[in-house]
Amino acid sequence: MLKRLVRWSRIKSPWILHLNSGACNACDIEVIAALTPRFDVERLGVLLKATPRHADVLVCSGPVTRQMKDRIIRIYEQTPDPKFVVAVGACAMSGCVYRGAYNIMGGIDQVIPVDVYVPGCPARPDAIIDGVVKLLGKL
């Protein structure tokens, strides 16, 4: 019973943390655009949280620079279980145009496990919402 309640609340109201790992910013403003009136994911219960300790879903963008690598792992460890990771944008998937640069790891999945990939450079807000919905469908 309690399990069902927890699962229901998790699906109805996923709290997200947006994490930039060296992205060019475009994916980040699209994540924010998804929160503003045109797309307004808040009506679906999605809330942007300030700290990883409150988050269920990490929405990550960027190719992971070497400087950020340890910090991302730390943030991932700070997020309480069960946690899910959505990689937003081509960079977060594979490095995009930066692939081959000396300072990047080449994708979020090089450092932490990823559940959903949202392609696009930048990914459109609709695509990001779709990614989160697909993730919730898996729960």
Binding site: L17, H18, L19, N20, G22, A23, C24, N25, A26, C27, D28, I29, E30, V31, I32, A33, T36, P37, R38, L48, K49, A50, T51, G62, P63, T65, Q67, M68, R71, C96, V97, Y98, G100, A101, Y102, N103, I104, C121, P122, R124
Partner: protein
């Protein structure tokens, strides 16, 4: 008692995420220092391995908000090296997109300023209106953020008559909304009270610290590359350089709102005088050995690209000086003798950023060296508390 506060390490909305280290006495910041390099991806090195054409798409991804100004700057430089001139229609479209980008960037920044000042409805309003510009940009280029419209020797896409009238119609909506923001920004007592007098930067300091863009213009320095060193077709477009003398965050807000109006005028001028003809000419692949410095006015200020060619189809060196970098020194100066609660505002004031990732602030007790962690949201709460204390001008007309 003095405290050291590191902020950061990440400020994702900047092209160069940074860590700030501040020494504070009570609530007052006495000293500030910067650490860079968290977002360093190695773009300049990467550029040396790619052809000029490929580099357009790489420079576009230096920054997502002013992507077009980086490609414009780069393309202008390379066109000078390749000795090609873009046809007039191509140039008109190139700078049309540049002005549209300025509009979207300034609207974005206004929202962020509202958010950091604790005025979230303003944030939601401006971002709603920003979608109008995003739609136009998407119709012109096919993408919302990275337009990829520039190419060597012109632009990649043309616009038709239907789109032209549509953009002109949308301008009407944007104009009306911007007038409303201006009234709101200048009259809403709590908003004005929060912004006025915060983060002062005198005209002398702005000049001495080489501030650029709206940051400098809000301190009374009428510097704008579009007018001082006209590139492309800016020499023939009538527009004003907007300045303010209040030297604070309120001034920066006012300057940006006024610039929105100027951008609408420029867009209208470009659309009404759009010449016929091709949008691009064919450009050679290899550039003769030489070097070039190209400047343009990005939404945040002067953007400089230095390109060195060695005769092959790849640049030997590309150096980018983005406007935010030029404004760091001025920001540090403004943080000094300010309040901790004002950090978000002062910081947001140089950059139309929408940093959503929360930065953590570590307060290290100067004596015991024991760190306590403060979240960015707590900082904002402090900011909101301080806003509650400022005296408000009463009996001012608040339009709604």
């Amino acid at each position: 008692m003095k405290f050291q506060i590191p902020i950061g390490p990440q400020h994702p909305a900047l092209k160069e995420p940074i860590s700030l280290r501040m020494t504070v006495e009570g609530e007052v910041i006495r000293d500030a220092d910067l650490r860079l390099g968290y977002n360093h991806r190695g773009i300049e090195k990467l550029a040396e391995e790619r052809t000029y054409l490929q580099n357009i798409y790489l420079t576009e991804r230096i920054c997502g908000i002013c992507s077009h100004s980086h490609t414009t700057c780069f393309v202008q430089g390379v066109e000078a090296l390749l000795e090609v001139v873009a046809p007039r229609r191509g140039q008109f479209l190139r700078y049309l997109v540049a002005e549209l980008e300025r509009v979207h960037s300034h609207l974005l920044w206004l929202g962020v300023a509202g958010h950091e000042a604790g005025f979230d409805s303003f944030f939601m309003y401006t971002w709603r209106d920003r979608e109008v510009v995003m739609d136009i940009l998407e119709m012109i280029s096919g993408n919302r953020v990275h337009y990829a419209i520039n190419t060597l020797g012109g632009v990649r896409r043309d616009i038709d008559e239907a789109l032209r009238t549509k953009i002109l119609d949308s301008l009407g909506i944007l104009r009306a909304r911007t007038d409303y923001y201006f009234k709101l920004g200048a009259n809403e007592p709590s908003f004005v009270g929060r912004l006025a007098g915060v983060g002062r930067l005198s005209k002398e300091d702005a000049l001495a610290l080489c501030a650029v863009g709206p940051t400098a213009r809000a301190s009374g320095v009428a510097h704008d590359v579009r007018r001082d060193d006209p590139y492309g077709i800016y020499g023939e477009i009538p527009f004003e350089v907007c300045t303010a003398d209040s030297c604070d965050v309120l001034g920066r807000t006012v300057v940006r709102i006024k610039e929105l109006g100027q951008s609408y005028n420029i867009i209208e001028y470009l659309l009404r005088n759009l010449p016929d003809g091709p949008v691009a000419v064919k450009a050679p692949r290899r550039a003769k050995p030489g070097e070039v410095v190209s400047r343009d006015e990005a939404p945040r200020g002067e953007n400089i690209h230095y390109i060195k060619a060695n005769g092959s189809d790849k640049p030997e060196r590309l150096k980018v000086r983005a406007p935010t970098l030029a404004n760091y020194a001025a920001t540090l100066a403004r943080l000094k003798n300010g309040f901790i609660a004002d950090i978000p505002l002062i910081f947001a004031a140089i950059d139309p950023c929408i940093c959503c990732a929360e930065r953590t602030v570590e307060l290290i007790d100067g004596r015991s060296g024991r760190p306590t962690v403060v979240r960015w949201s707590d900082l904002r709460r402090r900011a909101a508390r301080r806003a509650g204390r400022v005296s408000k001008k009463r009996n001012v007309e608040c339009p709604l």
